[in-house]
Amino acid sequence: MTRTLALCAAAALAAAASVPQAVAQSKPPAVERDATTEEFEKFRVVLEADNPAELFEAKGEELWKTARGPKNASLERCDLGLGPGVVKGAYVQLPRYFADTGKVMDAEQRIVHCMVTLQGFDAATLAKQPFSTETRTPDPVAITTFVAGQSRGLKIAPSQAHPQERATYALGREIFFYRAGGYDFSCASCHGEDGKRIRTQQLPNFTRPDEAIRSYQGWPGYRMTGGVMHTLQWRLWDCFRQQRFPEPGYVSDSLTALLTYLAVNSKGQVYKGPGIKR
């Protein structure tokens, strides 16, 4: 092996990401941001101040309050964890354990559950085209946006009191670090280090509390590409696509586990409400 080759290999080794498996305990140093990221963040404030997501929040509120579906019922009896009909503050406490289903559920999963049980909608039909397009915003997306908006300014506070909530977190953590697929990627390949970018997009390090909030912050998000509203269900779905994994099931338990991992890592941070994304 020549000297040049050895140097290259050393550089490659140094560049290989090391994935910390533990969430940092002490306050980690601030993540360095480059000039491009600084510029994006400056104008993100402008974009967030007047966010078309509000149009979808309004739509979702109307859907929540209107009697619809085969059972002609509104969602005002839907229990998001704080009692039937309580929307304020529910989003930041999800995912959580629900005794009636015997499992941990995330916001959209629970909303779909309510649409099926209270309004009589068909789960399989809702799962058929669950994501927004330029011409169609699925009802659960608008409703989730409304529900999320009702937690604006509140701290992320998912419960870890129930053994199933802790088990779900542990499962989510395993999924986060699991490398597989054609490209050998795990979630951590892109989201396990500080201050990294894909192209010009800042990649939050979801293993740090101050960065993990960025997985929650901004979602549901008004996506500038296409001008459509997306929830975390879409975000994870498209992440797995780019991870070269098979297609995750909509509102499936694996996604809830991952969302639990992200939510618990974001605990204590303030949720700013539906956001705006690239």
Binding site: A49, D50, N51, P52, E54, L55, A58, K59, T133, E134, T135, Y222, M224, G226, G227
Partner: protein, 105 residues
């Protein structure tokens, strides 16, 4: 026609800061849908804002305005209780007007 606008106002002294969000696809006529068909040009062409019935701010716009448009403008000489109405019209003849009363600060 169309979904309601979101109109937000903030009175700073006698200057009214207005922000308006409009639900509109603002199709450029260049985009193709999932089936590969070109989506026809569909965009807001004019916007007019009136304060107590008097025109204050008017815009002519093209398809270069982003989808679900956001505009901001400022009017001097406004006060709480004034009525602000905003109307848009698009190239298909659709039209929508929304009105708010400026709240007491």
């Amino acid at each position: 026609m169309g979904d309601p606008m979101k109109i937000r106002t903030k009175l700073e002294g006698d200057v009214l800061d207005v922000r308006v969000l409009m639900a509109h696809p603002m199709e450029t006529g260049q985009r193709k849908d999932g089936a590969g068909n070109v989506v026809p040009l569909h965009f807001i062409q004019t916007i007019s804002a009136q304060l107590n019935g008097k025109p204050v701010f008017q815009a002519d716009t093209s398809q270069a305005i982003s989808r679900n448009p956001v505009f901001g403008f400022k009017v001097k000489g406004a006060k709480a209780g004034d009525r602000l109405s905003i109307t848009w019209t698009d190239n298909k003849g659709d039209k929508r007007t929304d009105e708010v009363t400026i709240p007491t600060a």
